[in-house]
Symmetry: D3
Subunit: 299 residues, 6 copies
């Protein structure tokens, strides 16, 4: 089971100029074949389906804990998309023309089905599918898949970084590139331990050095490229048996962090009355909420 912490793994900027066309592209990092839904769900189901868990514990712990980090990634991509959509349409709720500004946007469902929010779709507006989950039960295969998946994910993050220059998208991809790199290293190390295969030499792939990206550098400076967090109060302690040794690019020592990162508050997501989020008259809900809080002695 999980415990949820109402904070994000990295800091995202507050809403600024909206960029709905960019937000449609960022959807690839959420619901695309190589998006964060895929990394999250692949590692999650591999951990559920792990057989002989006790016999192969360090590998189980590695996969299960990285899965937990990935939840934080779907959260981050969704937050960035919401930020980029904030203010995109600014009309009066219920008025003709209120959403005219986004009539020609690439993903109209972000406004029609959603409330200026993230969808479980890719950049072409197609839904994420359970078919994207690979969970063969064969440990070497699953790890080979995971290394490849992180490679594809890195490719897509780089492309979205190049394509969308909205501050939220840049902060997002800068962070994800660094963290995804750690996962590539982790799966490569696991495979090396099991088979002797040297996938580290494929790193980084695509070969753009991570520290070339300005938005990655602050994270590298804080050592985020070396650290695998153990996202659990008590469990997954055998990760250290696999995740260690030198980083393939820098030679620095890989480390397992015994705690989740402290995190950052979500960026503000103000109401969007013209898409009824959370209502066409948000103050009404706020008033009810205030009354309920009072009754419950929370205020």
């Amino acid at each position: 089971m999980i415990l949820r912490v109402d904070r994000l793994q990295t800091e995202l900027p507050p809403p600024s100029d909206p960029d709905p066309v960019g937000a449609a592209a960022v959807q690839e990092l959420l619901g695309g074949k190589f998006g964060e839904m895929s990394t999250f769900m692949n590692y999650t189901y591999q951990s559920f389906n792990f057989r002989n868990r006790q016999g192969a514990r360090p590998f189980y712990d590695l996969v299960a804990s990285i899965a937990a980090e990935e939840f934080g990634h779907i959260e981050l991509v969704s937050a960035a998309i919401n930020t980029m959509l904030t203010g995109a349409a600014d009309g009066e709720p219920g008025a003709s023309g209120a959403l005219e500004g986004v009539k020609g946007t690439r993903n109209t469902q972000q406004f029609i089905a959603g409330g200026a929010g993230a969808l479980v779709q890719d950049s072409n507006g197609r839904a994420w599918s359970g078919d994207y989950v690979f969970s063969s039960g064969d440990l070497v295969e699953d790890l080979t898949h995971n290394f490849f998946l992180e490679t594809g994910a890195r490719n897509n993050k780089l492309k979205v970084y190049e394509m969308v220059d909205h501050p939220a998208a840049r902060a997002l991809t800068g962070y994800l590139l660094v963290r995804g790199g750690v996962h590539q290293v982790a799966y490569a190390r696991a495979l090396e331990n099991l088979t002797g295969a040297q996938l580290m030499k494929l790193f980084p792939s695509p070969k753009i050095p991570t520290d070339k990206i300005p938005e990655c550098r602050p994270h590298i400076e804080r050592g985020e490229h070396l650290k695998l967090y153990r996202f659990s109060p008590e469990d997954y302690k055998e990760i250290v048996a696999v995740f260690k040794g030198p980083h393939p690019e820098t030679g620095e020592d890989l480390v397992v962090a015994d705690e989740a990162p402290e995190g950052f508050p979500w960026p503000e997501a103000p109401p969007e009355p013209d898409v009824f989020a959370p209502d066409h008259a948000p103050d009404d809900i706020a008033e009810i909420a205030q009354k309920l809080r009072k009754e419950a002695g929370l205020d």
Copy 2:
């Protein structure tokens, strides 16, 4: 972000007689339109896309925390499926006929794509889809959806309970029916607070009384039908402003539990060498793992 706890929310029995045909039916509760992937992902994305969070905090906290509980449910369904598939084929790895016993099973991919494991599919072998997520941003709509979703989920759990009498399936559905009932009540209460609408009168739907199901009774006796867990170390404290008052069937007081349940260990999932899970020769991996543990000073 989340922290992961390597325990299940309820106890499942260990593997006994395999039931692959039953396991194919249980997939509906995982990857079906009304399966646990849907409840998990709907509430998760609604929480990500929640606008004016601060203004409507009690409702945000409710949705966000129920989302966290649902992760535990995809875990449980997956564990039950693995249990039901354990031992279904028992041949020598790499030998013709090793899997002949499951050639005619309803979902061959549980063995060909998976390693006698759960798939992100429904009972007809079709993948779960991001299209099943409804996240309109409109709070009343999202809650109306959630009430309906839990209603459909309850229907499907009852049907699977009636269809599959494997001990793991019965333990699973018995628990999920009770917990799903709590969520129906929670969303009905939220809607009542916002609009005055009395959806409680639709409860239970389908109208089979939960305590008629023998596998539900032990959970009811422990008060699981009254309790909403706050699945978080520190957050989501305003749930209490919404989840309170009498239970619609029993009149007992609803309560918010300030901690996640203690949980139970996963049922054993022994290796299945004939599907290479985790390997055709599982002892090899266990040996490597043992060596790594030793090197890391874990043993």
Copy 3:
């Protein structure tokens, strides 16, 4: 717009021995690429998208009216499926094992998602898709498509006839084969009028003579193979300009019937309490209905 008549176009037998495996096969005739959903929706959307309607009225009238007949066909296939599923599981609602008899059936969703009812799926349990609709706007192309669609539909009806010998399936396919044949002739005649192409010579395709099928013969004897009904109180009167001349197999005159057939009552569909259709305790609903009727002066 449409007016609905609560009768079926042909007589179907009442429920007898259930045949859920056969019912799964019959789904192909409902939601398959060449099923009745496809014929209904193809002709319907072609009529909606018909340009220069006035200039090409006889062709518009033909397509629009055949569309109306096809609604009756999705009705018939659904009725047959419901009939075949009646009594398939016969357990006590809410009891473990109540649906055990259908655990191994080919389409578990007929019971889990449905209430022993028809789904909008094909015989492999996949949903009908709007992609099956061809509506190019080019009249000759649309008619060529329609001729081909009816050919594929005839093929599938013959195969289902050969595969499923339940009385409801035989009554269904016997009728549909005759009516589909009339539509093949109609589209061939239309194309002949527009281009001179002699598609009649492809008739029947597959080449099994319709009157070889015993279940077709009563319909042929009543002249159903010659008659195109004008399914409208007042409209589509120019069909006669296209649908005329000799039948390609028998040489008899084709005729346009100026009225819809009188029809037959639906076969009985008794409650299935174990799948909660319409409820686990159907008498409760009947009682409420009775009270409402009384209040409304209907009784």
Copy 4:
């Protein structure tokens, strides 16, 4: 079975300035999860699969007759899309550049697959799916679903109204909002009769008052918000047992209209030779049609 009437339920304006980008958005109301295909098909299949019809007749009659009205709605949305696409490209058939003006439009298949016509797709160009049909057989569940479906549909209609200001789109959404409201009320009343639950208090949802929309007002003035048509020559007479009492917003009496509305002619859909609809040389077809009419004595 059905009878078809070649008229629309409301008046739509004739083609004016084309708006292909708007037409792509309007597709959501046709083939989206909450589009008219969904309302039409959900109620239709629920009526086909209705068990114990006689025992629960007033509810059956209600669902079956609303299904019939919904056919008129897919008709209306399709007509509006055709109107909005008329004249969008205006080139010479077969000439390079003839369709260049729509190369960058949001849904190229409206021109490549279609003939400047409606597709069975949503606003992201994805096909409508039979998976959108919910037909559980459980009457309370189906009605709960229907209420929720109408709520989602209302949300989408409002959003499209806000997004697309083409006269055809405004006339369309104005009418559909009023009629969808009647269906919300109908399903809420049915549920109230069966369970006592007061879903009326959720009305309207989204909470924008319908009479705030100028395009809705003429329909409200004619009482269209109070009236449920019995779309049948003879059947479905027990609707009156359920659909009665005061309208939740206005307090006026709900009424069952014993006849379908008189209707309006389809807006003109002139040929589009550059997409070969109905031909690259439409006069040729008109000439053939004229000849056929003459031969049949229709002229």
Copy 5:
């Protein structure tokens, strides 16, 4: 089995001004329902599933050999798309903004998932599906389907020709229209031989005369509209028994060419470092390749 020849069936121009929006439209001819993947795969699987091959050899040879030609068509469409995307974005690899120029393009996956390359998708960004393959085993049905498929393909090619005036698209559609016409004639002739039906009279469909298209004329002048190539070193020699007689438009004699066309080199596809195709630093790969060539004595 096949042998591959590294040449294209017709000449395509080298990259010029990029046209990513046009390239998104051209995808319809690759992965659309009527695209070249469909013609290729339909005829291929019909040949694999052909029963009584020896007894019906001339028809088998016809279908099997046309399948081989179609491989060349997916090649051509892909080459044209690559050409149209060349240079569309021209930024520095790894730099923010490098792909900004294509952020608003219709198919972002051509750049995010692909490397400025073709996808197996249609013009709305949806994947080609195995469902598009019709292979009933019934020879008359399969041929009727093929005639209809070529008709739809011709329609789409004409539309894309009208929509996209990029030189690569025009060269592509000009060639494909001529070759598709030959296949329409071939299937019509086959059906005529089997049934006497005169589908030739439907030709051309859409009725735009092929020689009206300037880009078709050079191919017609070389007799490409009359010639069916036998794409095989030794096999499929019985095509001549079916493909003969006069061309339906011109009356000239149809001919079977005993050899594949000589072909043309692929248009240049220069590296696109900003999408890492084949690398962010293409010279590195070229250097390795050069070293390998030398070691292998190829240089």
Copy 6:
């Protein structure tokens, strides 16, 4: 472009006892995510989208030529499925009950949509999708993908080998395991040349030694595990620059064969009149064919 040779790459046994349930499982090797359609189409599109072809020629030649071999694999799987379905139903065409024997089979569409033939589907009856194609343009990524794809393919072949003991399935999987192994080696060698990464150490994966499988041994004895065929009359000559060195299991030298294998005739595929393949009365077609042959001077 391609030339087609009407022979199979290996010998398959003639039809014997039918095994439709096994044939449904074998579909995974055709239309599954890791089936031969996927290997064929992945390498094919990667070759179409290859940028800087001249600069990286040895790698292009490798991918392009392996693509050509894979066509032979979709052929083989299809032939095996047809063989396994031959005689599965043996009734009189057009007679009720003719297909009753396969009513309960796992994939009814093999008989309803097909003529006892292969479908472009996986073992759960779902269509192959263009989404399974990965073609990023980044050479290292594409090769990493291909190595992983072959690994997954090997897993599935082994599972199907274990599951289905029909002689055609065993002959098929025995051959494909050996050939797939060669492709794993080829892609590993290519990656080693580009990056130094040692993926060879992952070989074989799954770790079952290929020569443990009796059906693989004859192919190994003929050296098929060492040989990469150049499937082209003249092209792809630079493969030798990459495919060389020792085999990772045996240490023997890898070799490039300069010609395609000689091949074997297709196994007999007799008519199946009850599914109208190629007709309900196959002699009629044979007679027409004979007449056409004679007219063409072929007999």
